[in-house]
């Protein structure tokens, strides 16, 4: 469903992605792990057509953005790091606006919005106040609802668990597990390995713009012989650091 071929992204002074090649198939939840600044968000932004790669190709359902931009976009749902919410509108109004861009029938749209709001929000009347008054977590929930509104076959989420409370995070985990119905693919970047452990079918580890691990979750944890944290540390901890070096503090 998703293919990244030799993707390179260079910012003026930094090589953010270095010849990344990746493939994500149907019926998989691909979780991208890595340190801060490793290139996860850049990769997701390229995939979501938010930024363009310096080199390489992105294929979604065998189409690239220049060939079938609208066709691809109708089939993907994205929640990225940047906030594109129209803060003057209420949550409900914003979702209605996004729904109208997808040309979803009005009664169906209302049904979907109400369903998502009832699922993610405790006090559903909150969605009638302008977004500018929302907490960070509430904004995140609206962004999640917006990404899910069109029932996308490809779901791309950048740090979905950050800013969410544990209850909402668990709701999201349950939803993502169910959402993977065999015909869909998901790419999720996260630092929260507890939640990743619950949903991931595939793992990718990225560091300094290079993919260090790309494979099934079971392979990553060596069929349960290691836990996810140890496996990740083994890959990332190339130059071990010792807390005793901070002796002036301890």
């Amino acid at each position: 469903m998703i293919k990244l071929i030799e993707i390179q992204k260079r910012y003026s002074i930094k090589l953010a992605l270095n010849k990344v090649t990746l493939s994500i198939e149907k019926n998989s939840i691909y979780c991208l792990l890595g340190k801060n600044g490793a290139g996860k968000t850049t990769l997701i932004n390229i995939l979501a057509n938010l930024i363009e790669p310096t080199e390489g190709r992105v294929l979604i359902n065998n189409l690239n953005y220049s060939e079938g931009s609208i066709k691809i976009k109708k089939d993907i749902g994205v929640m990225c790091e940047a906030n594109y919410l129209i803060e003057e509108l209420s949550g409900f109004e914003y979702l209605s606006f996004v729904g109208s861009l997808y040309k979803i029938d009005k009664s169906e749209l209302n049904k979907r919005i109400n369903g998502l709001i009832n699922y993610f929000f405790e006090i559903t009347t909150d969605v009638n106040i302008p977004i500018m008054y929302y907490s960070t977590g509430m904004k995140k929930k609206i962004m999640l609802c917006s990404a899910l509104l069109n029932k996308p076959n490809i779901l791309i989420l950048d740090e979905p668990f950050s800013s969410l409370d544990p209850y909402a995070s668990n709701l999201l985990v349950n939803l993502l597990k169910k959402y993977n119905n065999g015909n869909r693919a998901m790419l999720i970047s996260s630092h929260n390995i507890n939640y990743v452990e619950q949903i991931a079918t595939h793992i990718g580890v990225i560091d300094e713009g290079k993919i260090l691990f790309n494979g099934e979750f079971q392979t990553f944890i060596e069929n349960g012989e290691k836990n996810i944290n140890d496996s990740l540390m083994e890959i990332l901890n190339k130059t071990p650091k010792n807390v005793e070096d901070l002796e002036w503090m301890l």
């Binding site: 910012y11 979501a48 938010l50 990225c80 003057e88 109004e93 997808y102």
Partner: protein, 441 residues
């Protein structure tokens, strides 16, 4: 179409949402009332002019109203707070680039200030004794032109666009007011010209919206064009610099209004008033505010220089490069306004340059020898020593008088005074005899 209707209806609904944003909605209603009342007041003045004078005077008055509308449109989003353009449509949504741009522009226009301007125009048009259709068409075209050019200006500051693009945007933005002026105050150009500019602006805005995406923040290249970057950062984050530029602009525009009002009253300008106008149209206002506030507040700026082994010349060079953009803007604004007052000639332009040549070294020199303790971030009162203000005023007036008497002599004298300031400045640095450092260390 559904998306446009829902966006506009939701935005309008939120304007008067007293239930959820009571205080904001009340302030919006008050703003709309204020705009409408201003429209009524301007129309009343206009009708009085029409009653007392010939019809042509009323046309002249309308042109000043156009100028006022343009000024409000242009300053919105830049002053008092800088509001970057926020894109509302994420690139992954299934919308064509044209529709995305259209929605973005519509969202920007659905704003209380623009609604207020519309109320102003409507009330004014309904009351004035003139062809209302012409006025309303011209005003609305001006609002669109003003917004689109301001948008480019904001983009040039907000985005990581290469310097060549920035300069070309700035040129467009700065040339446009001149074109507005040519169109509305000279009656030589047609409405088609105005529509052509709007089309041109739409095309550039569309190009910028679709070709300059927000790159990852924090990895921008700061190594090149440091000074320009520095100015942009200050402009974005420092309300004072924006205040400096906007006040400089407003004072100059006010001079045009005062002159216009005097023309209505049939009062001829006395030579002393003429010199006064030229003094205000010189960069003196800009320098006064910069040296009073910006340099005073950012006193630590002086510390960024390694003064041991440095020279006054190097410092002047460095600060001139920082000031180059505000000076460039000031020069163009002054040119437009001098033109509007029929005062644009060789001598008045030379006055501007002569005062600049004097004020840069003098401002830095006086900051060395008369450093002031700054207590507030924003200070209307003077932070510079009174002596230095008086000296700068006296020298500037002398430059003006001398330039009109003998331009070559004036230029030579100014260069001589500046050179002596360089000499004195270098001497002070060599002796490390300036108070600001003795206080700080």
């Amino acid at each position: 179409m559904d998306a446009i209707i829902s966006l506009v209806s939701f935005r309008f609904k939120r304007f008067f949402d007293f239930k959820h944003s009571g205080l904001q909605s009340i302030s919006r209603v008050i703003s709309l009332f204020a705009f409408s009342f201003s429209g009524y007041l301007f129309a009343a003045i206009s009708n009085q002019i029409a009653f007392q004078k010939e019809l042509i005077t009323l046309n002249e008055f309308n042109k000043y109203v156009y100028l006022l509308i343009t000024l409000i449109v242009f300053t919105k989003g830049l002053f008092p707070s800088f509001t970057p353009i926020k894109h509302i449509i994420q690139s992954n949504l299934p919308v064509t680039a044209k529709k995305k741009f259209l929605l973005q522009i519509i969202n920007e226009f659905v704003d209380i200030v623009y609604l207020g301007i519309f109320c102003f125009i409507l009330i004014y048009t309904l009351i004035i004794n003139l062809d209302g259709l012409v006025f309303i068409t011209n005003s609305l075209l001006l609002v669109i032109m003003g917004h689109l050019s301001k948008r480019l200006f904001i983009y040039s500051i907000q985005k990581n666009i290469k310097i060549s693009f920035r300069i070309s945007f700035l040129l467009i933005v700065i040339l446009l007011p001149f074109l507005f002026y040519s169109f509305f105050l000279s009656d030589n150009l047609s409405i088609y010209f105005c529509l052509f500019i709007i089309f041109f602006l739409f095309v550039i805005n569309y190009y910028v919206d679709n070709n300059f995406r927000i790159e990852k923040i924090g990895v921008r290249n700061y190594s090149n064009k440091k000074v320009f970057r520095w100015f942009i950062n200050i402009f974005q984050n420092n309300q004072q610099l924006r205040t400096v530029l906007i006040i400089s602009l407003i004072v100059k525009v006010l001079m045009v209004f005062i002159n216009g009002w005097k023309s209505f009253k049939g009062i001829p300008l006395l030579p002393i008033q003429l010199y006064g106008i030229i003094l205000f149209l010189s960069p003196l206002i800009l320098f006064t505010y910069i040296f009073n506030n910006l340099f005073g507040y950012l006193r630590s700026l002086w510390l960024t220089h390694t003064l041991i082994g440095s020279s006054f010349t190097k410092i002047v060079k460095s600060y001139t490069s920082i000031l180059i953009l505000p000076l460039f803007l000031d020069f163009l604004i002054s040119l437009i306004l001098l033109y509007s007052l029929n005062l644009l000639n060789y001598s008045t332009v030379l006055v501007w340059f002569n005062i600049t040549i004097f004020m840069i070294p003098f401002g830095i020199y006086s900051s060395f020898i008369f450093p002031q303790k700054i207590n507030n971030i924003i200070s209307i009162k003077s932070n510079t020593n009174v002596v230095s203000i008086i000296v700068s005023l006296v020298v500037s007036v002398s430059i003006i008088l001398l330039t009109f008497y003998n331009p070559i002599l004036a230029t030579i004298s100014t260069i001589a005074v500046s050179t002596s300031l360089f000499y004195l400045g270098n001497k002070i640095i060599k002796n490390k005899d300036f108070k600001v450092y003795s206080k700080l260390f």
